[in-house]
Subunit: 255 residues, 2 copies
């Protein structure tokens, strides 16, 4: 296991629990490696040459920007090596003969352990046998195993930025608006949860409500006045226009 | 009960189930009034003069823009009259002596019935006894009853636009991005649910991840190229800049 962050921790623990032996945990910071290695009964190291060359799989769970560098530093030919990134193509590992991708489409956070059972795993590999190895492995920890090429995976990652990063930012802005009036953020939590649950049942485009979707210019103007910040006003207008455009194109397509 | 839409339906059913008698359901469209009245063992009407003047409460559950007009058309002095809007001040009912607000902070959708048990009810009234009536009533269907003035309620409503309308739009854009590559939206649902659940445990500003929050200009540039739409590129840049600004101001405040 290369890496000791949130993805490495989640994958390491679940693979260990599924009965796999993790031989080594690598991290540049040996203390980080030790922390995770202890949980996995593995050997910690900060030297890539220490990795067990006979491991069935080397799993790279590190920041996208570090994948190239780590690949450079591995000087032996692993039985199979895979990274866990959404946006990095499989070709980043092209110096290795047996390469693949093992991408869990989920947000992992320190201090919040979640089950991988429902997390979609996007698997990519070139040979049938490497594909089978990665799919079998993913199936042991998740019920959602999907074969996906690098281009589609990159699109999923981009969509995930909207669905997770941008969504979370909307929560942050809402929290700030409430904070101004000393209203606790708690009050929005049932709404936020229902917003997420609703789209399990209907397409988000059908679930859209609010002043922008009904083009209620009176409320929109009121809100813009209320925001008291140029940046927030611009963001509000921008997102509202985007909602209006999408609502109109949906109506047009139904005519 | 004035109105027959999603809010009227949800409130009507839960109040009826809590043992309250709904005498009349008003809607301009008598068929809409009949549909809901049947569920509530009430009398349907499309004439505001038919309302029972001895009712303990007249509850207005209609579009914000119609509240003024309906208030105009009620010619008697009700025992108590309240609207259920987030953005309309209590003063919209100033022609009545006993007025209030009974605002459930939640998104209600046709065909999706949700319990009101955890829905925050924001209550406003001028007299102690009207406040008590509305708070007692809300307490019978929800565990979250809060007294709130019109100005704070308006701010909650604005924050809810970010937390619900804007968030849902991010889901819609993600769905569209996936659709281009014929990837089913299903794949994002576990991520969306986890994004919402995570902020029950931590502040959204601490939960923020992604290229914008770590100012990863390489990934951001890649994403902008990938979007293939001027409008989406602008929105992506705009929200990313907003994330970066907020992340930086958070860091600065911790120094």
């Amino acid at each position: 296991l290369i890496g000791s962050g949130n993805v490495a921790t989640h994958l390491g623990i679940e693979l260990h629990q599924a009965g796999h032996r993790i031989s080594h945990v690598f991290s540049r910071d040996i203390n980080h490696a030790k922390d995770l290695a202890e949980k996995l009964q593995a050997t910690p190291t900060n030297n890539l040459n220490d990795l067990d060359q006979q491991s069935d799989l080397i799993l790279i769970c590190i920041a996208d920007t570090a994948i190239n560098e780590v690949a450079e530093l591995i000087t032996f030919e692993p039985i199979l090596i895979a990274h866990t990134s959404g946006s990095i193509p499989i070709s980043a590992l092209s110096k290795f003969k047996n390469r693949g991708v093992f991408y869990p489409l989920q947000t992992f956070t320190k201090g919040r352990f979640i089950s991988l059972r429902n997390v979609p795993f996007c698997i990519e590999a070139e040979s049938i046998s490497n594909k089978k190895t990665l799919k079998d492995l993913a199936s042991q920890i998740s019920e959602q195993v999907i074969e996906m090429n690098s281009s589609d995976r990159k699109q999923c990652h981009l969509a995930a930025v909207f669905a997770n990063n941008f969504t979370n930012h909307m929560y942050s802005l809402a929290e700030q608006l409430l904070y101004k009036k000393k209203i606790p953020f708690e009050i929005l939590k049932p709404l936020i949860l229902e917003t997420a649950k609703k789209i399990e049942q209907m397409s988000p485009i059908d679930a859209q409500t609010g002043p922008a979707s009904r083009n209620d210019t009176v409320v929109i103007k009121e809100h813009l006045k209320q925001l008291e910040s140029d940046k927030l006003e611009k963001l509000y207008s921008f997102v509202s226009n985007s909602i209006r455009d999408l609502t109109e194109s949906k109506k047009a397509s139904k005519l």
